[in-house]
Symmetry: D2
Subunit: 281 residues, 4 copies
């Protein structure tokens, strides 16, 4: 099938918001040719932001990772992560005690840096949970799934506390065919066990869009009609963009494949304004 | 049980956000004594906003209704409704064709006022849906439930289009004991029939909070820690406020009753910063 | 595409279980040619049963309806309905008080005939519910959707009682394109409002299969491998048959269309042993 | 509170069906005093069956375990497990290829003993899945949660096949306070990742009840009104028994505690015919 050119469409907008995984990179590394697209965006003086549901690394670390795989030049204010939203929430709402977490120590170091202590679930003493004041799902790595997921269930059965989910993605691709269960999948299991709903951060929630928008308009007014969100996933990037009121483009270089894009749009009812093969053409 | 005083707590905040139903009014009309609370808020020079999921009336009509039941003085910029969010979305995202709807003509007149035509579902011709470009659930009144809900299901089976829900509340109280199915309940039925998720507006989504916040900070910076959201429903007011990062107060004058407040907090995991009997004390 | 012949497959089985709607009849009446298939089944001395989720009519009335549309000869013991299961449950479990219902008076007359009184929801006095001991969803007709669905919600909020669903189908076809919300859809709305799960009867539950099986083996042993269930719906006929352990055949003359049968099997994971165009070939 | 005596109630019934965990034993072993109850049941010449959702051991092994903890005398025909139902299904429906599984090798040995080969998920080669014809969730032990759950997701993404769940319990108690995620919880995670529903065995499904009933009536007719199902869990034992049409007794010696039994009955709408403290009094 014939798809329109990303370049032609992008020219019409003042602001380009890009998802990370499936748009700029994939399981093999940087998507080849993305450097030229970035040069085009810079050359056309578009305002540009990366909006990613990845909470396993700090924004700074994500930028360093992009440099490592061959895409230098993303600045700190251009990287917006669901981890930043979770961090902000914890700083505003949790004022005492320790924050327990499931994830790598690295993910914890960034999100939980504040006056408060944090503690991995494996080190929590279930018999003495007085000082645990919140729980965060950070990453699908850095813990033993069997013992630590069970321990999480029991901590949350024993004590009622705010539980937040720094990344609500249920899975991520690990190669052309396969996926891995992500933090959102693990949290959903725990939600099911407890019959509760946790506080979710990340797209499709409007928060990250609003965060980006607020900072962009500090430099002068921008109409939402002049903003284009580009992503590979209907349920996060496109639904979130649609709901926030910006224009949306689905690219077929990640989660959504050409062979079933029509079906997925029809069955989800989530309709992007544009569909392009990738951001390379 | 002994609950703290709303007045004592409110004094500590610069901004007071109030839910409408269950806080200011109930099925019988204005909650007696609310006038004094409003005078207190005005007297203390607090910034004040009403945040309501009611989309059946325009903000202006809601203010007029408050005057009618005995609470004058709410200004237009102080009334924020989920209908405003839905209206904004439609204006930004739907650019051609007709918008079909389920609800009263009055609710449609406000939300669907724009260059576009709107048409109640009863007048839609299912054999010719080419010009229908979006669908909105507006209100639980103004249509025949049997024929018009069925017709809505079939329109959305025949044609894929953005479907939005201007108020996601599932029910509302009609007297001390009973409730009525609200727009959100009807939309959920249709979602179930189609296996789709529509675009929901209203609390607990951050949008209304963000809308209020953005406009408040135009007059000078306000920290989110200086904002108090007061509501009677954990799943909308308190979850939304918590997630947005402001302080939250649950009042027991509406949906949540003193006899089961503990249970509901424990079973939902949604924890307000304060619990007060009402905004009268 | 080329599908195998129903006749060739049916020959291999001793017992043929047929769904009603979408297999024997459709929205226009009897499916033309079904008479010949019935003659074949009779001629081959197969044991035969109709298994239908229709609870709006008694088995006798359903047989009379078949005579009316041109298919005489179905005997009473050959007609098994989800209404029979519901009736049996109520007779065994409800021993006093009145049974309230949503549906036509005709559906109530059959299912609720026992020593107990029954009362349509419209006649229930919400202020005095002492004598109401159970509630049944019977049909999508025979009541005012707006007032009676709301009244049902409030009855079940006020008083805890067994609630049963005589037909869990969510919708039924009304013409080649359109459907109507069935009892199961209405019950799901009420379940959602209350946060409860009711007791569901009808396929895919094993009960109707077991009921048929028990009576068939009274005349001599039959292995489940010699039984073929034929239906047009994966989620009820095929899932139910698979789970009960008989062989299953999906026909494309009803709910499941040739153009998306592959997709529906893939996305549901419900796999029939055979797929045929209809029972006519 | 005062509860009626199990003994007094049991006297009125001809058949006593008992759940295993929470009724006869708990995390510490046999519930002390259960031997006397068993003697009573035998002495009164009641027909007796154990109905358990435990699929991790064969019926024979479960009986041996009871002997080991001090309750000899349960005969093989008296032990009915969800594993037996799953085994039966697989024997009837899967006729070629290998059956992949998640669980201990012991659980596999029993359920998958038939002409077919079985293979633990860790040994499956995702690149060559041609010979895998079905998948079974057997137990929460015997595999690496992280790698093997992910591998299961990918196997089921790559190839469509019948997936069955030999035990749908979501969790089981490990001490007075804590639980562990059971097979049903893990399967639910995988269902969520795939957007599919697997075939579930075990209570509350009617199958185990029907299996017990069929065999009991071989020795003479028994009315369902003369059967009492005793269990500690509303959602499995009581719902299943209610739906099958027998009388039900909830005991407070397991999952359901005295302090919240009222609430759980009210919020679930599942109503036992009797509530007793345990089967000891």
């Amino acid at each position: 099938m014939d798809y329109p050119s990303f370049f032609e469409i992008a020219k019409k907008y003042k602001v380009i918001l890009l998802d990370s995984y499936g748009v700029l990179k994939n399981h093999k590394g940087l998507i080849e040719g993305v450097q030229q697209t970035m040069e085009f965006i810079r050359g056309e003086n578009k305002i540009f932001r990366v909006l990613t549901n990845d909470a396993s690394r700090s924004p700074r670390q994500q930028i360093e990772k992009y440099i490592e795989i061959g895409l230098p030049g993303i600045e700190l204010h251009e990287m917006i992560t669901s981890g930043m939203m979770a961090k902000q929430f914890l700083e505003q709402k949790v004022t005492h005690g320790k924050i327990a977490y499931l994830g790598t120590d690295n993910s914890a170091d960034y999100i939980l840096q504040s006056g408060l202590e944090h503690i991995p679930i494996r080190d929590v003493d279930l018999k003495n949970t007085d000082d645990i004041s919140a729980f965060v799902f950070l990453d699908d790595e850095g813990f033993d799934w069997n013992s630590d997921i069970n321990k999480t269930v029991n901590l949350l059965r024993r004590k009622n506390m705010p539980v937040i989910l720094a990344n609500s993605d249920k899975f991520y691709p690990v190669n052309r065919y396969d996926v891995a269960v992500a933090t959102g999948g693990i949290a959903k299991l725990v939600e099911n066990m407890l019959g509760k709903k946790f506080i979710h951060f990340g797209k499709p929630d409007s928060q990250m869009f609003m965060y980006a928008y607020e900072r962009i308009v500090e430099n002068g007014p921008i109409d939402k009609k002049d903003i284009l969100m580009v992503g590979d996933t209907l349920q996060t990037d496109i639904l979130g963009g649609n709901k926030f009121g910006v224009q949306t483009m689905l690219v077929l270089s990640g989660n959504t494949r050409e062979e079933n894009v029509d079906l997925q749009i029809r069955s989800s009812g989530i309709i992007p304004d544009y569909i392009c093969r990738s951001i390379l053409e």
